[in-house]
Structures are given as structure tokens and as C-alpha cells.
């Protein structure tokens, strides 16, 4: 057992050189310990997720939210399972090596580098699978020229932050059993407190979201996907799903009047305040006048022989005695409106100075001046324009004696939502519904800005460094382990 004498020096390999030693060791482990399995696992998980999210990811708000959540879950899953066992499974070996001069910081830094390589490859594979499976990623990025590269950086940072978090838990755990017991809680915590996906969290618990990778991951991917400018499809899809369903039942006239008059309802109030302009021609008014009871009554009234036609018309237009007649309603106009139109027409023809010479009835006058003929000529002349609102029209209809007399009358109604939408125009309704729901879903955190994305990236880097530091501190106490 001959042995060469080695000249002993105090200096041994420093931290940096030890990092190289351990990095080499971990890369060998990658081959011998089958750690390459994490890559096919990443491919399979990504493919499964892409199957579900491929159609709507980057297309609609809901699809983007669903896709980004799934993508963040894949990244967290990959990261956590990369490193959750790496320290605890060789804790005794680490203790022996620490006793032999290994620096804990070198060990952790070499793990940081090795895990970074794993995460980088996993992120690239995830992205590749997503694209191959048909997820349409926008072309241009905000920070780098390609959005694919930019998204890849985000996936890498999310995976790496989760990886470092699991590395810390691994450093805290004394055995693989402990680590694997902690793991489901960590994943559920990340899932529940992801912020954007489960929105109905109690207010007190929302503070937890500040400490989850999933929260910032979701924000980052959504910001990159330009979430705020995507259309929202949920409500419109829901409407589409029920648009052929039969709606209806028994309703009373009074109930309809009540519904249409209810200004507490925002939609009805909006509807009632809509302005409406109604115009009518002489023909419309005369037809109504002919059909009314007033027409026959006035035909039989006698006119004094000395009065001229002009005076007669002026009297009809202005006299208090005819006020009631003038106020008679002809749809949205009155008999007064019709008389004014008639008076103007007669004065223009020069017949205003004509004197009858004997007592005549209004019927004779109407026939003399060929009122029907005159009205036929003037029928297309626009008489009046009325600026009103839907509310006033509805009130007018509601106050109609026919309506008021039948308030308790019941009748059956049957319609579909689709028919109602068709009345308003499907494209119009779709545009309005999507715009309104998208507006409600917008968030500042999802804004497509360079600042936002850079901030999230910095958070991931900081999170990773803090976790790695905590792992180092935790492992520094390894000499306190029980033998």
C-alpha cells in the first residue's frame, strides 16, 4: 500500500469552482437518474392542455383567461416537480459533503443553474407543442420583436419561479415523503389563489394572491395576450344557447302597461327616454277626420249668409266655440292641425273672399269647395312634425280609454329570444352584448403595456432569488439534523 505524499496547502476549491463540480454532477445525474423524463412529461401535459385551449386562446377574453390559466398551471406543475425532491432525497449525502468542505451556497447555485437549463428546455417544448397543436400566438411582441419569444420568456420565468419555490420546500423537508406531502397543498394554494380565475374569493383571503406565482403568471400571460382588447363571448354564447327556447305565458294588459311605465328599470327608462319625431300629412289627418264623429256633426251645422269663406275658416281655427272640436285627437295630431292646413290651402287659392249669400250648412260648404278633392290634392303635404319621446307615446297609448278599459284582459304570449334578437338585428345585438361584457371584464393588470410585462418579469426573478436564498439559509442548518 505505497502512497505518494501530497503537499498540503490550506486553500481548497472555492465557491465558484464548487459550482462547476456540482453542475457537472447534476448533468450526469440527468442521464443516469432518468431526469430527462421531465421533458416527455412536459410535452404530454402541454399537448393535453392545448387540446382544450387551442381554439379560443388569444381569440376571446374567456378563451385567453382559460388558456393562460392552463398554461400557468402547466408551468407551475413542471417547475415544482423538477425540484421538489432534489435536495431532500440526498440530504444525508449533502451533510457528508458539507462536512468535507462543500459550500451550501455553491450547491444551491449549481442547482439554480441546472434547474434553469431544465426549465428553459421545458418552456421551449411547451411553447412548441402549443403552436403545433394550433394555438395562434400573435406575431409581434412588445419587448422583443417576436411574441413567441416573449411568451417563451414568461413561461420560462413562471416555471423557474415555481422550481425555486419547490427547491426551497425540498431544502426544508427532511425526507421525500414530507416533500411530497407538502406538494399538493402548494399546488392547491397556487390554484385557489391565482387571483384572476377564481374571482369569488372572500375579501380577506385575496391578500394571499400577492404571494403566488400563479397570480403574477396569469396577469403576465393575459397582458401579453392583450386580454383587454379581446371580445368577450360568454354572455353572447349563453344567449345563443337559449335563443331557441320557447318563452311565454299568460299576461294582462295592465301588467304590460305597468312594465312599460316602470322607470325604476334602467332598460325601460333608457327606452322611454329615446327621442322620436313623428310627422303627418294632410291626407292622414283628413282621413282620420272623415272617420270621426265630429265630421258628421259639423256637416250639419249652419253658417251665417254674410260670412266669407276666409272668415269661416279663421273662426274655425280661432274661435273658443270650436276649441273642443280643434282638440279632437287624430292619432298624434288634432282637428285643429287639420283646420290650419285647410285654411292655409284655401287662402292660397284666393277663395277666402268668397261669400255664400244665404245660410248654408258646413256640409254644403265642404261640397262647394270640393273638400274631398282639395284634400286629395293636399294629401301628401306634410302638415306637422312633433318631437316627442317613446315614453310619451307609451303613456299616450296607456291612457287610451280602450287600453284603460281592458287592463284586466288576459292573453297568451309565446316567443323566443332569437325572434326578439332578430327584431333588433342579430349583428347589432351581438356587437352591443360583446362590447358591454368586454368592458366589464377589463382589468388594469391585464393591460397590454411594456411596463406591465417588465414588472411581472422582475417579480418572477425576484421571487426566484428569494426562494433560492431561503433554500440556502434552510440548508445551512443541515448540521443540526438528527443523526
Amino acid at each position: 500500500m505505497a502512497e505518494k505524499t501530497i503537499e498540503r496547502k490550506i486553500r481548497h476549491r472555492g465557491r465558484l469552482e464548487q459550482v462547476r463540480i456540482y453542475l457537472g454532477k447534476f448533468l450526469r445525474m440527468f442521464i443516469y437518474q432518468n431526469e430527462w423524463k421531465v421533458f416527455p412529461m412536459a410535452i404530454l401535459i402541454s399537448a393535453l392542455v392545448a387540446l382544450v385551449v387551442r381554439r379560443d386562446f388569444f381569440v376571446t377574453m374567456e378563451g385567453t383567461l382559460k388558456g393562460s390559466f392552463a398554461l400557468v398551471c402547466v408551468a407551475i406543475w413542471n417547475g415544482c416537480f423538477n425540484s421538489i425532491q432534489v435536495i431532500c432525497r440526498e440530504r444525508d449525502v449533502i451533510k457528508r459533503e458539507h462536512r468535507s468542505g462543500m459550500h451550501i451556497s455553491s450547491y444551491i447555485v449549481s442547482h439554480m443553474l441546472y434547474q434553469a437549463i431544465l426549465c428553459l428546455v421545458q418552456s421551449a417544448l411547451t411553447l412548441f407543442v402549443m403552436i403545433r397543436m394550433g394555438v395562434k400566438i400573435p406575431a409581434e411582441g412588445l419587448i422583443v420583436s417576436s411574441m413567441t419569444v416573449e411568451l417563451g420568456i414568461s413561461i420560462f420565468l413562471i416555471t423557474y419561479a415555481s422550481d425555486m419555490m419547490a427547491l426551497w420546500f425540498s431544502a426544508l423537508s427532511r425526507s421525500t415523503t414530507t416533500a411530497m406531502t407538502i406538494m399538493p397543498f402548494v399546488l392547491i394554494f397556487q390554484l385557489v389563489f391565482s387571483g384572476g380565475f377564481f374571482t369569488n374569493l372572500p375579501a380577506w383571503s385575496t391578500h394571499f394572491t400577492k404571494f403566488t406565482v400563479s397570480n403574477y403568471g396569469l396577469k403576465c400571460i393575459n397582458a401579453q395576450a392583450d386580454f383587454n382588447n379581446k371580445p368577450s363571448a360568454t354572455v353572447w354564447n349563453a344567449v345563443n344557447n337559449i335563443k331557441n327556447n320557447e318563452l311565454g305565458g299568460t299576461i294582462t294588459v295592465g301588467r304590460i302597461v305597468e312594465i312599460l311605465g316602470n322607470e325604476d328599470n334602467a332598460a325601460i327608462k333608457q327606452l322611454r327616454s329615446n327621442p322620436v319625431t313623428i310627422s303627418a300629412s294632410v291626407g292622414d289627418l283628413y282621413t282620420k277626420f272623415r272617420e270621426s264623429d265630429s265630421y258628421q256633426a259639423i256637416r250639419d251645422r249652419t253658417i251665417d249668409a254674410r260670412i266669407t269663406l276666409g272668415e269661416l275658416l279663421t273662426t274655425l281655427e280661432t274661435s273658443v266655440a270650436f276649441e273642443e272640436l280643434r282638440q279632437k285627437s287624430l292619432l298624434f295630431f288634432t282637428v285643429g292641425d287639420l283646420l290650419t292646413a285647410l285654411g292655409n290651402s284655401v287662402r292660397e287659392t284666393g277663395l277666402a273672399s268668397y261669400q255664400f249669400g244665404k245660410s248654408v250648412t258646413f256640409g254644403q260648404v265642404f261640397d262647394f269647395i270640393d273638400l274631398d278633392g282639395q284634400m286629395e290634392i293636399l294629401k301628401d303635404v306634410s302638415v306637422v312634425k312633433v318631437d316627442t319621446t317613446v315614453g310619451k307615446i307609451l303613456d299616450s297609448v296607456s291612457n287610451n280609454f280602450l287600453v284603460q278599459g281592458n287592463l284586466d284582459k288576459e292573453f297568451k304570449i309565446s316567443f323566443t329570444l332569437g325572434k326578439l334578437i332578430d327584431l333588433a338585428g342579430e349583428e347589432n345585438v351581438k356587437k352591443i352584448v360583446q362590447a358591454k361584457t368586454a368592458e366589464a371584464m377589463k382589468k388594469d393588470a391585464y393591460a397590454y403595456t411594456k411596463d406591465n410585462i417588465e414588472r411581472y418579469w422582475m417579480i418572477f426573478i425576484l421571487f426566484s432569488l428569494v426562494c433560492a436564498s431561503l433554500a440556502t439559509i434552510s440548508l445551512e442548518f443541515i448540521d443540526k439534523d438528527k443523526r
Binding site: I6, M29, V93, R99
Partner: protein, 458 residues
């Protein structure tokens, strides 16, 4: 005010109801007596949280007691928090209280399991029927068990270790004569402290080991053999002075840690790495940085040849036999050619031939002028290879003490035995199947050492 009182009683008595408080007082009375019977101050029974720690000590379930302490603490903290919750939103407050109640329920269940474990230990210690556990399992009935156990004439089979350091005898004040060559150990005390107590694991161990000696470290289970070895190599420091060739290991730990090679009991190596890479990485860590790659490679190859590993250099560690793994584990430490070699049961799991072969390797290392200290539980088959014997024994306070240090022949003469295994039998306690003579031998050896010191001092 009532709420605060409820919380206070809840913490102190573990219940909020008046009837429960009365039962808890009865339990405390019983507990007071149980603690006294085990030589522990009975007033601990009045101290919330700590009383279970002390009860666990009586039941030889110290770890369970510590865990129960933390769980109870957490449970009380959760109770206080849930009682002081205030939120404007009533619905959210309800959800929060429900959530907390679920957590408290879980913690309560865990603490109940640990309490059961502690009482089960008590059943064993008092050697009573396990049916007693039915009484101890529920807070409504455990007071009956505590009162009966506390006031019966039945005494515990084992009593816990003495708690106070003052109970230990004073140290020997003699100074050790430091040697220029070899290993000098002057260990005054090695203690372990946790939240609850300070335990003395080792005390009063003094020795000088000559270079070139192969030393057998003997001792029963829990005598502190591994603790002693860790104290020598400086990884777990004691109140001690450890010198290798005149250099203080503790003061110059960064430099001196390479002078002590420690081979642990288990083969702590990465099974998925090759033999060559395992040794090469060990060489990179242990050898000085000025050594060139060529020199390092030669050193690794030399060591592989010495330990018969050359043919397996490309094999994965996990594929090797038990004997090969032991040799590889020793080779890793041998690379840096340390002055002191400490091996914790290197022959465990090896048959007689392989164990002899391995010990021959170690003898050859010692013959190069190095000190080799070996712990083994089968010393007689290789005793001819050893020069000295260290015997560590647990005294009546369960502290590891030096019962003998000297040559193999002197050991036989001192203990009046012809086999090393008989020596271990004589120092082991009666509960462990031994003769329980540890205190006697410790005292005899202390007197012998004092006499020798007087002779040396003239």
C-alpha cells in the same frame, strides 16, 4: 370580558365550559401526582402547554410531547384569532369563521392523536392494561385515569433523566498533557439544547492517541459514540479541546477539517453516479486547489487501486456490492490522506471474510502513521488488528462517560474479561440486558486516571 375569560380558560384548561373546568382541575390533581412519582416537579401540572411536555417525559414519549406542545400552541393561537375576528361583511365573516373552525378541527384531531400516543407511553411505563386507554382517550374521562394512576401505589418502571445539570457530579479538573504528534482529546462537556431542556450527552473524556494506532471505540446503544466522533472532527462542536499534531481542530476548523476523515455508517453516496466520478468529485472537494488535474487523476487512480475499485471505475455506485460500497465510502475520505480516520461501523452488513479484509485495509492505513478510530459491534473477530480500546458508557444520568481508554490487553485486565463483547455487556444497563456496572467502571477508571496523573506529575 366574558369572552376574554372564556378564551383564558380555554387555553389553560382546554375547555370553555364550567363542568369541563372542574374535570380539568381533577385531571391536574392526578397529573400532579404522576409527575411527582417520576421525580418531576408536580407544579408543572398547572402550567398550560408544558404539563403535557412533562407528562410525555414521564411516559418516555418526549418527542410526542414536544410536537403536542407546538400543536396546542397553534390551536390556542387559532382559537384566539377566530374569537377576535371582525369583518364588516357578515357573509365573509361567516365564511372566515367556518374556515378557521375547519382548521381548528384538524389541529384538534392531530393533538388528540399525539395525546393518545403520550398516554399509551404512560400505560407502558406503568405496565398497566391497555384497556386504560379508553379512559385516557377522552377529555371527559381522562381525569379518572390520572387520579387512579397518580394516587395508586403503582410506580413507573422507568424514570426520566434528571433534569438539572446540578445533579451531575463535578468535572475532573486535571489538564491533559498535549502531544506534538497524534490526537489529544479533552472533552469537558457536549450538550444538546432544545426549547424544553439542556441534555448532557457526553462529559469528562480525556485521551491521547499515538500516531499509527488503530483504536476500537466500544459502547452500548446511546452511549454517545457517534456524538464523540462528531465532536472529534469538529463538525458538531463540544466544550472541548481537540488537537491533531498540536493543532487545535476547533480553532482552525477550515484548515483542519481536511485532517479528519469521517466515514459514516451508511454509504452516503449518489447511487446513480459512477465510481470514478464519485471519487473524482470527492478529490476536487477535498484536495487542495493547487493540485493539477494530472496529479488529481493519478491520486484517484492510486486510491482505486489501493481499495480494489479499479475494475469497477465505470460502474454505477448503486450496482456495487455492499463491501465495494464500504470501500468506496472509505476511499472518498482516504483521498485527502487525513491524519485521523474515523469510521462508524464500517463492517456492518459484511460477512466475516469481507469484514476482515476491510479491517486489514484500515490496519494498513494506520501503519502509515495515521490514527484510525473504528466503531464496530463485532470487535472480537478483528481485535488482533487494534492497538487501543475506548469504552464509552452511559452513566446513571444517561450521559456518555469514559469507562476505559488503553491497550487491548489492559482493557481485558481492567474489566476482567476475555472478550470485547463481554465488556460491552458489563457496562450496558440491566434494561438492555447488561450487568449495569457502568457507573462502577467509570468511577474506577477516573480513580485510575487520577493515580496515573499523580505518578506522571511526580
Amino acid at each position: 370580558m366574558n369572552d376574554i375569560l372564556d378564551i383564558f380558560f380555554g387555553i389553560v384548561f382546554g375547555t370553555e365550559q364550567t363542568a369541563g373546568i372542574i374535570l380539568e382541575i381533577l385531571f391536574i390533581v392526578g397529573l400532579f401526582r404522576i409527575l411527582q412519582k417520576s421525580g418531576i416537579n408536580g407544579w408543572w401540572a398547572l402550567c398550560p402547554f408544558m404539563r403535557e411536555v412533562k407528562l410525555a417525559k414521564c411516559a418516555s414519549r418526549e418527542q410526542e410531547g414536544k410536537t403536542y406542545f407546538f400543536i396546542s400552541l397553534a390551536k390556542s393561537a387559532l382559537l384566539v384569532i377566530s374569537n377576535s375576528l371582525q369583518l364588516n361583511n357578515k357573509e365573509e365573516l361567516t365564511v372566515l369563521i367556518l374556515f378557521f373552525s375547519m382548521v381548528i378541527l384538524t389541529v384538534h384531531f392531530i393533538s388528540w392523536i399525539y395525546m393518545i400516543r403520550i398516554f399509551l407511553g404512560l400505560v407502558y411505563v406503568y405496565d398497566i392494561n391497555k384497556k386504560w386507554m379508553i379512559l385516557f382517550s377522552f377529555s371527559a374521562t381522562r381525569w379518572i385515569g390520572a387520579l387512579i394512576l397518580g394516587f395508586s401505589k403503582k410506580m413507573p418502571l422507568t424514570t426520566p433523566e434528571m433534569e438539572h445539570e446540578e445533579a451531575l457530579r463535578s468535572f475532573s479538573n486535571e489538564e491533559i498533557i498535549v502531544m506534538d504528534k497524534g490526537l489529544s482529546v479533552d472533552l469537558r462537556k457536549r450538550t444538546a439544547t432544545d426549547l424544553f431542556q439542556t441534555k448532557t450527552l457526553l462529559r469528562d473524556i480525556k485521551m491521547n492517541i499515538q500516531p499509527g494506532h488503530m483504536v476500537l471505540l466500544l459502547g452500548g446503544s446511546g452511549a454517545g459514540k457517534t456524538t464523540f466522533m462528531n465532536a472529534i472532527n469538529g463538525y458538531e462542536k463540544a466544550d472541548a479541546k481537540v488537537l491533531i499534531n498540536g493543532k487545535n481542530v476547533y480553532e482552525k476548523y477550515r484548515e483542519m477539517k481536511y485532517e479528519v476523515g469521517y466515514v459514516p455508517q451508511q454509504e452516503l453516496m449518489r447511487g446513480k453516479d459512477t465510481v470514478y466520478h464519485t471519487l473524482d468529485d470527492a478529490a476536487l472537494l477535498r484536495l487542495p486547489s493547487v493540485i493539477s488535474s494530472r496529479e488529481r487523476l493519478n491520486r484517484v487512480q492510486d486510491v482505486m487501486r489501493i481499495f480494489g475499485l479499479s475494475n469497477s471505475s465505470t460502474s454505477l455506485v448503486e450496482k456495487m456490492s455492499g463491501g465495494q460500497k464500504k470501500r468506496l465510502s472509505i476511499a472518498m475520505e482516504y483521498l485527502s490522506s487525513p491524519q485521523v480516520f474515523i469510521l462508524d461501523e464500517p463492517d456492518s452488513g459484511l460477512d466475516g471474510v469481507m469484514a476482515r479484509n476491510l479491517m486489514n485495509h484500515l490496519r494498513a492505513i494506520a501503519d502509515q502513521g495515521k490514527i484510525v478510530i473504528v466503531i464496530t459491534h463485532t470487535p472480537d473477530r478483528v481485535i488482533d488488528l487494534f492497538d487501543d480500546v475506548i469504552v464509552l458508557a452511559k452513566d446513571s444520568h444517561k450521559t456518555g462517560r469514559l469507562a476505559f481508554f488503553g491497550s487491548v490487553q489492559e482493557a481485558y485486565s481492567f474489566f476482567g474479561s476475555t472478550k470485547m463483547e463481554e465488556i460491552v455487556m458489563s457496562i450496558n444497563s440491566k434494561e438492555e440486558g447488561g450487568k449495569g456496572l457502568a457507573d462502577s467502571y467509570i468511577q474506577q477508571f477516573a480513580q485510575l486516571s487520577a493515580k496515573n496523573a499523580e505518578v506522571q506529575n511526580g
